[in-house]
Symmetry: C2
Subunit: 255 residues, 2 copies
Amino acid sequence: MNQNTVISIESIRVACRQCTLSSLCLPMGLTPEDVERLDDIVKRSRPLHRGDLLFREGDHFRSLYVVKTGSLKTFTPGSEGGEQVLGFHLPGELLGLDAIDKGQHACSARALETSAICELPFARLEELTAIIPSLQHQMYRLLSKEIGQDTDLLRLLGKKNAEERLAAFLLSFSQRLHRRGLSATDFHLSMSRHEIGSYLGLAVETVSRLFTRFQDEGLVRVERKHIELLDLRGLEEISDGAGAGRRQPQRRQQT
Amino acid sequence: MNQNTVISIESIRVACRQCTLSSLCLPMGLTPEDVERLDDIVKRSRPLHRGDLLFREGDHFRSLYVVKTGSLKTFTPGSEGGEQVLGFHLPGELLGLDAIDKGQHACSARALETSAICELPFARLEELTAIIPSLQHQMYRLLSKEIGQDTDLLRLLGKKNAEERLAAFLLSFSQRLHRRGLSATDFHLSMSRHEIGSYLGLAVETVSRLFTRFQDEGLVRVERKHIELLDLRGLEEISDGAGAGRRQPQRRQQT
DNA sequence: CGGCTTGTTGAACAAGGTCAAAACGAGTGG
DNA sequence: CCACTCGTTTTGACCTTGTTCAACAAGCCG
């Protein structure tokens, strides 16, 4: 912020290329000129502020979006008026993949804090993927990865209890931030307890109590939205279901 | 079964073309020759029998699979040894999309009954999609649709209670069969109660009790694995969370 | 038939939800 | 700077839902 008081077009371009690079290209061998072509179709948009909608359920699908900085949530109206949070999106991650099928967004996306977003017009992207095989492959991988992530979440909601869920949530966050080069053990939760609860299928009160409990057990240090993970190993054990064996290791001889 | 006692290669080919057609091509404008080319890369494999594995978690990813007849489940080892069911796959549906990302299958797939499967070598498919734009688009849509379905399931596991889950499950099954031209109200559940429970995140006993309850309430008729939906409307109301207002329509004035 | 798996039913129990209220933080206006 | 309000978070008490444990019935197959 000190030396870059004047933000040049070039610096934005570089920043944006970095963001599309990491989510779309990092693991694949794209030639520099392919990346250039990809970068050319990226649109920059004004930053979103906390509470702003990026798109709304039912909106005509035109583009995919990459989070450059900040964070967003996706959600749909759940039963009974309240909103059901479907996911959180951190820098480098993609939004809108679920809209390709029906041609309109299946959920809404709202900024949790001031966020910068890149827009990738899908029609242009499709043209590009048709002529750059490795980019096409990369797109398939991205879509497939999204499916894999949803599946992980299904596993979470299907079988895990409250503390396993919260532990898994914290670890997932930690890894995603770490992948971006940020601290894996000390970060800011931009969403409210209510949103965490909605995402994990838990009541706000339960989330709150668990944070307190985790802190009492020395696993984390929480202060409002700032959280510090003190015992990653312990959290992993909990999230893997060690809770069963931890307290009462009896039972299990027949069956 | 009476007039087709001799199954010719041609009839299999037609059947298989129908199956790839419906899942990959139906909604899109592919030319007949495109379909021909697509059909050419499809491999036929021997039918699977109940309990056979189609692929196993960790297997090298080579192909996508289309269910021609029968049904399969996908699953991973859950915590504590038991297996966690991730999905059921009916005729016309695709398996293996989650494996593209990592190049190896993220779950195992097992036949629930005798099933015929078409194999689509992914490398060949990718070559084709690169030269047939509408097929590429179709692939994106398919992947996106899978994401959408997972999201629907997330919504289900995140907020719904036991009876809402089972009602939603039955309706989803009904619609999927109906789309295939089969009866929407009278069908065979090829999976066990245990598998339904695992899929819906419920104990076997709860599933069993709910079937009994639904039957007592005149919503369905169940006899072992055969089920008849008597009141689709009622099931929809339950699955949409009408359960809240159905029994005690009091409360709700403050807030 | 006898041994097996799968499904059903009942009773006790516990995890987490709901309700209610207090504590805290951030912003607002006197 | 302090008092006040609004929204979020925390905490406590209670209750509902679904799980667990255990026994039993029903198919299925040698």
